[in-house]
Symmetry: C2
Subunit: 389 residues, 2 copies
């Protein structure tokens, strides 16, 4: 239990609840984008039409029909697979937990991006792994550094990556690096865990094929999620992997919680059947692109030049880098919160090993245009004033 600590995520949830604070901390999707009418219709139809089945237990790997529908969507995205390659999960987060349980024993090395998704560290920590963290740039994980890291870490079990619009940095792994990543995983004989909650929230440029599409040896486990494209309160995600790995993960799923909600699986399956989720995703993308543009424009206009920020092509986050020596956690507690009423996530918490204190994750997903402009401008003024002081 020693590695499971009250998390920064929880602290942020608490902060987010203070109505006087303009919070850019949370990684929530914009609730105004949930397709409420359609969701009401599919839940109603699932209970009224077939409630005795939709409210009963079902197979632990998840509703066969939904697995089939997901397999079809995956195939369209370049991952040839069938329903037996799909396991329905309680959100992508459960995939992190089950994969670590399956592969990682105490002291085993997990390789992550540096920085990486905090929720992944929280999921992996109960297995008491060691971490190796790989340098990133604007094209994602640096493959030379990954190679050196793997050479230094014989017996490493897992490479964990968020290749599309990464949490927390917003950067995307390039095509060439995706291919190289699979090559290195093959050479060093370990599993790649490709976590893609933001993949379909791309605003600009062409989608880059998933890492899983280059997998020739059945060693990539792909995690997808309905949380950002439909609604997180449904708690539905999925894993795609070789039948052998899905079988093992399915047994761990059975042990962990028997199955996902039959009703929620039935309702989402009906949603995919009755409605055009791609049209829904397209409309979501417009909104997030607009918010992203507004935030980045406001940063450009109001922030001092020595604050760098990433320019994401999708997802919910940008990542700020302040000059060395600037402590974003201290600045938030001492200035941003009391003076500008602004919250973000101090970046230190996303580093598995050496915590760099001069970064912040800023999300544009949940706030209105007005709050984005007002909050980011207030933060920019505060930073500029301090710099000029």
């Amino acid at each position: 239990m020693s590695q499971v600590k009250p998390s920064a995520i929880r602290e942020l949830l608490r902060l987010g609840a203070d109505p006087s604070i303009m919070s850019f901390g949370g990684g929530y999707p914009d609730a105004s984008l949930f397709p409420l009418e359609q969701l009401e219709a599919v839940f109603r139809a699932s209970i009224a039409g077939n409630g005795r089945e939709a409210l009963q237990y079902t197979v632990s790997n998840g509703s066969p029909k939904l697995r089939e529908q997901i397999a079809t969507r995956m195939a369209r995205d370049g991952i040839a697979c069938g329903a037996d390659n799909v396991l329905i999960l309680q959100g992508g987060q459960q995939g992190l937990d089950l994969v670590a349980k399956m592969l990682v024993d105490k002291g085993d090395v997990i390789v992550t991006e540096n920085p990486t998704f905090l929720g992944a560290l929280i999921a992996f920590n109960p297995c008491e792994p060691r971490y190796a963290a790989v340098r990133m740039d604007d094209d994602g994980m640096d493959m030379d550094d990954l190679e050196r890291t793997l050479e230094r870490s014989p017996g490493a079990k897992l490479i964990y990556t968020v290749p599309d619009f990464q949490n927390p940095t917003g950067v995307t792994l390039s095509l060439e690096r995706r291919k190289k990543l699979v090559e290195l995983a093959n050479r060093f004989d370990l599993v790649v865990l490709e976590d893609t909650p933001y993949r379909e929230i791309r605003y600009q440029g062409e989608p880059i094929p998933p890492i899983k599409s280059f997998d020739t040896e059945g060693r990539v486990i792909y995690l997808g999620s309905f949380s950002k494209i439909l609604a997180p309160g449904l708690r539905l995600g999925w894993a795609v992997a070789s039948e052998e790995l899905i079988q093992q993960l399915g047994l761990l799923k059975l042990a962990a919680d028997t199955q996902c909600s039959t009703l929620n699986m039935a309702a989402v399956s009906l949603f995919l059947e009755k409605y055009d989720i791609d049209a829904h995703i397209a409309s979501i993308r417009q909104i997030y692109r607009h918010k992203k543009d507004l935030m980045l424009d406001t940063i450009r206009r109001t922030f001092p030049q020595d604050v760098a920020f990433t320019e994401p092509s999708g997802g919910l986050f940008t990542w700020l880098t302040f000059p060395e020596g600037f402590d974003t956690a201290r600045f938030m507690a001492d200035h941003a919160l009391p003076e500008a009423k602004v919250a973000y996530v101090p970046g230190a918490t996303f580093f598995p090993l050496e915590q760099e204190v001069n970064h912040a994750r800023v999300s544009y997903s949940t706030q209105t245009d007005e709050v984005i402009v007002q909050g980011i401008t207030a933060l920019g003024k505060l930073l500029t004033a301090r710099r000029n002081a």
Copy 2:
């Protein structure tokens, strides 16, 4: 992974799907008892009235309002507690997984009833525990044998029990033994995991206070579930424990799957507010009592005298004991299935250590009156014929 094996439960799910087989194997509740109209109404109201919140992320320990409602119900059942003592779970099964994760390291001893719930063994096995199994009689776990077991197992971490209408035997732990169990847990300094999915399905006699109600040292973790009193497809259960233990379990819940479905929690909370779940449970009880009486009467009428069976005061199961040397698994494969078209669960799988082959778990919960009479009679005739052959 070595201890996680394709489970007997899965095999049974497959068997249950063959429409020509009269299966008394599954532990499903009777789907005709789901309150469909009310569930449709509360899902509709949760989405239409408050969907932006009900479909968003929420706190990982679960909806505060539902935790409050559960705490009130628990207090009425003799367990003084508040919302901070309650953690919402993905069914009771998730409690088994999280508690084992929290307390059990490889090689640690878990003490169980003999036989015990298969799903618990499946949840515990990934932690690679050793088991100690305690003798049972018609009053549940034998306390003298438990004491001897604890003396022989220094450092044991956990006592696991299903005190009400146990799965698989249907027997109930007596009042005196509940008190004694807490006394022994205090003396030997270990945690008691009290799993109560069937507790509210009592047909006859007065409820016996939960073990947790005798807990003076915060060492009993109580697990409850909506699966048998409302619908399992919702995947909602809960743990009640000391704030300290709930805090630790909550962090493991956050790591495992972030949270339960916000929508399902909102809908069940509204159900508890708008409808009389106790009246619903009372009507369920009538049906199950009737089915239990019908099955036991049919067993009495048609089975040979040398087959013993338990007489449950609640729950979904009776437990058959055949003469020594009788192998229920072999009999099912060779005779019950092909000749009588009847399935049950061979008992061996419920024993954590030495598997006794001369038992069977028989469920009366899902079959119609006609099938109960027809199937049990067919089985009785087959047994009688073989005995007289």
